[in-house]
Amino acid sequence: MHPVERNGDVVHIRQAIRALAQEGGLSLVDQTKMITAASELARNTLIYGGGGVVRAGAVAKDDRRGVGAVFEDSGPGIADVAQAMTDGWTSGTGMGLGLSGSRRLVDEFDLRTTPGEGTTVTIIKWAR
């Protein structure tokens, strides 16, 4: 469990995910993709969610193994998920590719949000 309260925390999460991805036997490309997705989502948690927590660990399903991470905040939530998932759309000052791009970087992507209550994003990258 990692708190996301400051910019420096995003770096810690990236390092934690890197360690997990290396242990989990992900290829170099998959490691980089998972780390980048985690970096995007952790920053979203910080900037748009007003801070939150990240849980990360090894996951297994049937005979597949991989790395998973859950990004949870209790911020304002996302009013229009379809719009938020559109390339290039941002409510802030970023490029508008973080959320949609992360989905393309990982194998499993699950976004649950309730306006006014918060957002939880779960991602998994399987080892090949």
């Binding site: 770096v11 890197r18 980048t36 970096s39 995007e40 920053r43 490029m95």
Partner: protein, 283 residues
């Protein structure tokens, strides 16, 4: 028992044996610190602290934050700062305060119930002072770490001149907003200072390029372009290339190369320099 009586008891407890207690305190602490603090310095620190504490108790100080304790707090702050800078552990720092409790223990053995009560009260006060010491210690360490992080920011972004009119910034590690700001400023300043028209940003040492890093890079490149310079991004590894494509970031109109060598070749060609390879090499 009134507050006033308590305070007098505490003073009695500390001054019953007068000078002896302070000396015993110094002995107790110096045993745990070894020779890393000189005996004379420790003696001075603790005697000052001891006198300030007795004085504060005489003036009915009730807790660590009370007005009368300000002198004690100032001395403790100085002590923990100096310990933190010299690399002592938190335990080694706090022991200076807690050792006084151990020194006072013999008083309990022969003491009446009043002195036990006074000891407990003083003990509570010393616990607070110990915690205050650790807090100050941590603040000092935090300040040190912040200062080091700032130094790192400066150190990690050299701008090097590769050729007449060609400069390069090798980026290493994580790019956050603060660092990118420094990189951008240094690069733009170097463009002016050296009169260069070609700049190479090498990201071989950057482990991951996310949208924030990409955005910072793009802004830097646009700023350089406004100053009439061409930027090339080099050191894009296969995994970073694939990640950038998946994220959907477009580096349209920006020259990118896999290696710094390729970027240098491109920069030289753009500035009209021909590289000639001799078959036999130069003797």
């Amino acid at each position: 028992m009134s507050e006033q009586a308590d305070a007098v008891d505490l003073v009695d407890l500390l001054s019953v044996e007068g000078e002896d207690l302070a000396a015993a305190w110094v002995r107790e602490v110096s045993g745990s610190l070894g020779r890393r603090v000189s005996a004379a310095e420790l003696e001075r620190e603790l005697r000052e602290l001891y006198e300030a504490l007795v004085e504060a108790l005489r003036q009915d100080a009730v807790d660590v934050h009370s007005e009368q304790m300000s002198e004690v707090r100032a001395l403790l702050t100085e002590l923990s700062r100096s310990r933190a800078r010299k690399g002592f552990s938190p335990t080694e720092t706090a022991i200076s305060v807690f050792a006084l409790k151990r020194v006072l223990e013999p008083v309990l053995r022969k003491g009446s119930s009043e002195s036990v009560h006074a000891y407990l009260q003083l003990s509570r006060l010393l616990d607070e002072l110990g915690l205050f010491t650790i807090e100050t210690y941590t603040q000092t360490r935090d300040a040190l770490i912040t200062a080091q992080a700032e130094q790192l920011l400066e150190l990690s972004t050299p701008v090097v001149r590769l050729w007449d009119g060609v400069i390069a910034v090798p980026l290493v590690g994580t790019l956050d907003s603060a660092r990118t700001q420094v990189v951008m400023e240094k690069l733009l300043q170097a463009l002016v200072d050296t009169g260069s028209e070609q700049a190479i940003i090498d990201i071989t040492g950057v482990p991951a390029v996310d949208t924030q890093v990409a955005q910072h890079l793009l802004k830097t490149i646009v700023a350089a372009r406004l100053m009439g310079a061409e930027c090339t991004v080099s050191g894009i590894s296969p995994q970073i290339a694939q990640t950038i494509v998946a994220l959907g970031i477009e580096f349209e109109g920006i020259a990118t190369k896999a290696s710094l060598a390729d970027a240098l070749k491109l920069a030289l060609r753009r500035s009209g320099v021909d590289l000639v390879a001799h078959r036999d090499g130069l003797r």
